[in-house]
């Protein structure tokens, strides 16, 4: 434990970062990593925007894993922190869905936003960045839960905030109903009819005696690969 005066990453530049002032709406100095990305992945980078001083690089969603791996590993970039994975759906139904990755390089004190565009109507699939950042685990699960985007290569893509058996869709999509589809009495009926074994996931039910204590019929269904949930 040391209360040292501050030191950042090993390759921190000498100058102290300052609170941004007078940031223009559009334009301004882009993050140097954007140019490096364009040089390294000319096919994948579709657009570079600077909005309110933050650099956004729109990349081909299918190649995002390679892009992110390079950003993480390259000694000139060192984006070691994946701050956030999320998605944006616009009110205009024609506009594509955007998957957003927020990356931070602590060594160079840079912030970079990656975006992948997913056309509506086509399957919503992007590669998972979990092999590089373990923090993507829950963030991608939440994004899947809320938007229905499938992250290929994620080891355990389940719902996280909603429960596993939730069948009403994905809450943050614009077509999600705001008032619910069922009456209160129907909701109550469904809750009471829920399967008790739905409290545990398949994985958990395999532990120790929990599995053998279940009714035979339930065991058969679980062994047949059925997922739990009401």
């Amino acid at each position: 434990m040391s209360t040292s005066t501050y030191f950042a990453g090993s390759a921190a530049p000498g100058e102290t970062p300052r609170t941004p002032r007078g940031v223009p709406h559009r334009g301004g100095e882009p993050n140097p990593s954007a140019g490096a990305l364009q040089a390294r992945f000319p096919g994948a980078v579709q657009r570079v925007d600077v909005v309110w001083g933050e650099t956004t690089v729109v990349v081909d969603a299918a190649q995002v894993l390679d892009v992110v791996r390079w950003l993480h590993d390259d000694p000139q970039q060192r984006y070691e922190l994946l701050a956030d994975v999320t998605a944006v759906e616009f009110r205009d139904p024609e506009q594509p869905l955007e998957v957003v990755w927020h990356l931070r390089s602590l060594a160079y004190r840079r912030f970079l936003r990656l975006k992948g565009l997913l056309t509506k109507g086509a399957p919503l699939r992007v590669p998972s960045v979990w092999p590089i950042y373990k923090s993507a685990d829950w963030l991608e699960r939440e994004c899947y839960d809320m938007f229905g985007i499938t992250f290929d290569g994620h080891p355990d893509l389940r719902r996280i905030l909603m429960w596993e058996g939730y069948r009403e869709g994905h809450p943050l999509r614009k077509d999600f109903p705001l008032r619910g589809r069922f009456s209160r009495s129907e909701q109550l009926r469904q809750t009471l009819a829920a399967n008790p074994e739905a409290r545990y996931s398949m994985e958990e039910l395999t532990i120790a005696e929990a599995f053998t204590e279940l009714p035979l019929e339930v065991r058969k269904r679980l062994a047949g690969g059925e997922r739990t949930g009401e």
Partner: protein
């Protein structure tokens, strides 16, 4: 048989003196002939308790899970083999609600996610919205927000320290620390009228300026608070039980912590000096003189030390903020977002129309997006807002630090004892309102 990270010392066989010159205590069992004999155990390993694994469910209704967290644990004896966390019991769809609210109407919702840090969330949201509107706040407002954010950091850390103490078995510091927290709540009550759900800020300014005499109350708090902190420090830092329960527990290396996306005191305890206030400053934090405490072991004990020191550093910042607090307007002179004075709105037609339009239609930021992160007591709290030019955001995303910190809990608890799960879970400083949103 899983290996335990803490070896359970079992003293064996020969009665008499140990190497330290004291009488050795020998655990005894019953032999076949009815005599008491020492059990045959290999030194340094816990006795084999059979290969059966057990499924243990903790929560969601459990006092040590700090809300409605549920952990499903697979145990081998007392050792955790696997931990499967479940969240979402408190999900209320804050982000969805935000898409149907004007920017100023979202501020009360930020009170309710991380409810131990309401003023800090208010300031963070206002900063994000101001970036989206392209507004520069006044110098007085900047310093007022620093005061609010540091007070709320102390407030949140006090709750953390008190409740973690209770989880590990120390009750007294809880009472002392909550008395101090009560004084901060009194300060906020004087300032804005609310204690827990403060809604302190507005886009472009604050809900209220400081009342007369408030700075004297804050000075009094700054003068007396470190004494209580020192008392709690003396109660815990060298306490044998506290040290025994926390040192070496739930340790993460700097690389692991970074890779799991940990931020705030969690990552700093592992030795990474990442503090948003220093690395990506806001509210002129680069002009304040304060240090960032950094741990070395990355265990529960270091997380405690880091948070303890952070409170002292917050007091330092508060002192400097009070010294430099400038006079002047609190709200920006921008009629797009700021209401006209009340007496004008009730007496002049133009001001009344202005008031009506700001309230009913709401301010409209230009098309764009902004991600503004601040150093909340839990870590990097980010608000990501996307505007399509209307008065309500298309997307309002909360980057919850405790959510990402909690996702590393299987990594931290596996291999530890069941009782350590409680200590590790406490050390993450979770607030389920923020995790489930």
């Amino acid at each position: 048989m899983a290996t335990t990270k803490r070896t359970v010392e079992v003293a064996v066989a020969t009665a008499g003196m140990g190497p330290d010159g004291r009488l050795q205590r020998t655990p005894l069992g019953m032999g076949a002939d009815g005599t008491l004999v020492a059990p045959e155990v290999e030194h340094g390993y816990p006795p084999e308790l059979g290969g059966e694994h057990m499924l243990i469910n903790i929560g969601p209704q459990h006092p040590a899970t700090h809300g409605v967290l549920r952990l499903v644990l697979e145990l081998d004896g007392e050792t955790v083999v696997r931990c499967i966390p479940h969240v979402g019991y408190l999900h209320c769809g804050f982000e969805k609600i935000g898409e149907y609210r004007q920017y100023n109407q979202i501020i009360p919702w930020t009170d309710r996610e991380d409810y131990l840090n309401s003023p800090g969330n208010n300031c963070a949201f206002a900063l994000g919205a101001e970036r989206l509107f392209g507004i520069e706040i006044t110098p007085r407002c900047t310093v007022l927000r620093v005061i609010a954010m540091e007070l709320s950091r102390i407030m949140s850390h006090l709750v953390w320290m008190g409740t973690t103490g209770i989880d590990i078995g120390a009750f007294t510091p809880f009472l002392w620390l909550f008395q101090e927290r009560e004084r901060i709540y009194d300060l906020f009550e004087q300032w804005i009228g609310a204690r827990l759900t403060t809604s302190l800020t507005r886009v472009g300014g604050m809900g209220a300026d400081l009342p007369a005499g408030w700075t004297n109350m804050l000075e009094e708090f700054i003068r007396t608070f470190p004494k209580t902190l020192d008392e709690a420090d003396r109660m815990l830092t060298k306490n044998a039980i506290w040290v025994g329960r926390t040192v070496g527990i739930g340790a993460l290396t700097a690389e692991e912590a970074m890779n799991h996306g940990l931020t705030g005191p969690m990552v700093r305890a592992s030795g990474v000096a990442y503090d948003v206030r220093k690395d990506f400053p806001y509210l002129d934090y680069e002009t304040y003189d304060f240090d960032v405490p950094v741990g070395t072991r990355g265990d529960v004990y270091d997380r405690y030390l880091v948070r303890l020191e952070e409170m002292r550093q917050s007091v330092r910042i508060l002192k400097q903020a009070l010294e430099r607090l400038p006079e002047g307007p609190v709200n920006v002179a921008d009629p797009r977002v700021i209401l006209p004075p009340k007496h004008k709105a009730t007496s002049e037609m133009e001001s009344m129309i202005h008031h009506f339009k700001v309230v009913m239609e709401g301010p409209r930021p230009p098309v764009g997006e902004a991600y503004v992160a601040v150093e909340s007591p839990k870590g990097e709290k980010g608000y990501y807002m996307v505007s399509d030019g209307t008065s309500k955001p298309v997307r309002w995303r909360i980057r919850p630090p405790a959510f990402v910190n909690l996702s590393a809990i299987p990594k931290m608890v596996e291999g530890h004892l069941l009782s350590d799960v409680i200590a590790i879970n406490a050390s993450i400083d979770i607030v389920m309102g923020e995790i489930d949103r």
